[in-house]
Symmetry: C2
Subunit: 428 residues, 2 copies
């Protein structure tokens, strides 16, 4: 049995769970991979923090970078997070020193994945990041192995559990975004200090970028793309969606349109009888469309120490089986830069909510403006608020060009009868 | 680049699709695995059958067993089917002759998988059978790799597309079992000559047996277990289920109950708002419960040339990557015989439908008998059929012991007011 030394850097909720998981599964792993694994190095910001296990001081390293050059360490597991700074250095140095790396860091991989994978390939070590996308759902491995030779045309799904929890909870409790966000923070579903990266869609977008490059065998796209979060969704929108037999979900979507890459993350209105609209709470789900497999669906818990350590352990086993794989499935040199689809050309049905003064002529001002931008109305609902002399006007449009709808919405800014920038949600 | 010769035995719908798939993906596969693959041998019952491609006579073998000893062949793909006879010989001989084997044959693997995997391990070759379970859904690979170190406690799902199509179609068209079956046969969803193995649940059970042994690291169970198909489901049952906000699905279920294996396949009544009840038509779905991952769901097309060749190709890539793996995840010698749970001890709520003569006292005869067997009634519906002087009595019971409900149902045989053996469907 080959002796393998593991170094874990970062001992928060996930690192701690993984530490115990590795110890408890040591025998099982030995059986499956014919290796004798040992945790020979750990590092954390605060050695004295209260943890559910006792830290062995003998294997504790104050400076995490020391682990990356320690000859006893064969595999480094980076669990600090953030795209740059110390985590990047740890991964970079480990790979340069010919150590395999496992990371759950989606920000890092979506930003520096191309660079890091080229070092890994050069040095013939693994760089694994299953836990970066979809938590416990083994979606990267499924793309690289289970659906290995499929021609993937589209991937979409719910990739952020925080947002999905908030939207589900807003629907079931009819409570406001702010109140539900607080609840999510109390439950540990949203970061207490700075939940922004979850709420504004950046987290989901990092995952979409990783999925794109794996699915389409391209370099990670650096272009700006359509990115909207859920911060401006009000319970009013959820109510109205409900009446229309629709539900609001934050979707990440990536597809090839005429061989051009079209990536985006934004709230979508989905019919209630679809699969994706029934994925609730913190669950994640990914739908893949491929040839010859057809449509595949993967669903599971997207975050938390349990699912994440399941993914990290699958990376560990993949390395222990002794197979050096290209981190993105094919050699870096064969991965071309993607050609980017011009999102302005996209057509979508829109849900528009206008908050207006209840005065004659306002509706006609709106409809005239929409007509000017070639946006035609499929459905219109006006909800009066007599007390405040206001009204909500909800318009569902036929398919309209993204460029026009963007310009059109902006044009309403100067209209004093319209009380705030209209809310726009795309129909999926 | 290493040269690899492939032999395909069986050129029906699936074999033909795979043949073309391998040719068209040759370059892509070379890139991913650094190999140069060629189809060097094929065999089929009838060389002259009309196919969508021209058979190269130079590589055609009349006797498929000749392929298993041909030195040019490194990988044999068996696509004939059936548990015994020629397909078993092909797989057995190929493994003995140190050739890797890929098969889609669930009957073969569920019956002889233990024996065949021991030959594969001894000769250090792969035996892969992803396509045997769940068609395009890479569920075996997910168990072996993506969820590799999870402790799985339960797997259940819709594993037979034919049955799921028939039940979905009976619900949406309100047509009879026989008519819908004919339709399924015309569409190619059910075998024209002998659809029995699909309809009686045997096909799903073979898959459950394979899943059990992979999930729980045990030998394949040889014991008889609870097996019921969908042949006795009438549109009346589907109607009533609908009124109760339930749906009938044929589920395969395997779990460990106090470390004892409990496998079964039978129709289940599932609430309409659950995930599994909304998996319709020919779709398959598998739900896995594991620690630490939580609940994972995989869904996709369960049959047909496209999904099946996707699975076969993933097996091919796994072999080409050059990693010899244990066919069932761990060494055969470490896989113990499972201890079997006594299914008679199981408790279930039941749906019972009695067809009775519309005479006074019949209902009290039924309820008295149920009470005798400790089966208590949660709900009762009587639907009269005045014309024929009959009635249907539907009873939903509280949780009852399997042994008692079985005995109780049998006891009604002698009651002449009850026109046929009552229909029993378990609630899930």
């Amino acid at each position: 049995m080959k002796k393998i030394g593991i170094g874990i850097i970062g001992l928060g909720n996930i690192g701690s769970r993984l530490y115990k998981e590795i110890l408890s599964k040591k025998k099982d792993i030995g059986l499956k991979t014919n290796t004798n694994i040992n945790i020979v190095a750990i590092s954390a910001k605060n050695i004295n923090k209260k943890r559910s296990f006792k830290i062995k001081r003998k294997i504790f390293f104050k400076r995490p970078l020391d682990i990356t050059k320690n000859p006893k360490v064969n595999i480094v597991i980076e669990l600090i997070g953030k795209a740059d700074g110390i985590s990047k250095k740890i991964v970079e140095n480990s790979l340069i020193n010919k150590k395999h790396v496992i990371t759950a860091n989606k920000a890092l991989i979506s930003k520096h994945g191309d660079y890091l994978s080229s070092i890994a390939e050069k040095n013939k070590v693994n760089l694994e990041f299953e836990a970066a996308v979809g938590g416990g759902i083994p979606v990267l491995r499924t793309l690289k192995e289970g659906l290995a030779t499929n021609k993937i045309s589209k991937i979409y799904g719910i990739l952020n559990g925080t947002c999905n929890y908030i939207l589900s909870e807003m629907e079931s409790t009819k409570d406001s975004f702010q109140n539900v966000l607080k609840k999510a923070q109390n439950l540990g579903y949203a970061e207490p200090s700075n939940p922004k990266l979850d709420l504004n869609g950046s987290d989901a977008l990092a995952k979409i970028k990783i999925l794109s490059s794996l699915a389409f065998n391209k370099k990670i796209s650096k272009s700006k793309c359509m990115l909207e979060g859920i911060e401006s969704i009000e319970s009013k929108d959820i109510d109205i969606a409900n009446q229309l037999n629709l539900r609001i979900k934050l979707l990440g979507i990536t597809e090839l349109v005429n061989n051009k890459l079209f990536e985006r993350v934004h709230p979508c209105l989905v019919p209630k009888n679809t699969y994706i609209s029934n994925v609730n709470d913190v669950m994640n789900a990914v739908i893949l469309e491929g040839e010859p497999v057809g449509e595949s669906v993967l669903q599971g818990e997207g975050a938390g120490p349990g699912p994440t350590s399941s993914a990290l352990m699958s990376d560990l086993l993949s390395i222990l089986r002794g197979n050096i794989k290209f981190p993105f499935g094919i050699p870096s040199s064969k991965r071309k830069k993607p050609v980017i689809y011009d999102q302005n050309l996209n057509f979508n049905s829109l849900y528009l909510r206008f908050e207006v003064k209840d005065k004659p002529g306002v509706l006609s001002q709106i409809t005239r403006q929409l007509a000017k931008y070639k946006i035609s109305i499929a459905r219109l609902i006006q909800i009066p608020d007599h007390k405040r002399k206001r009204a909500s006007i909800i318009i569902i449009t036929h398919k309209s060009k993204e460029l026009y709808s963007f310009k059109c919405l902006k044009s309403f800014k100067s209209n004093k009868n319209i009380l705030k920038l209209p809310t726009l949600i795309r129909l999926f």
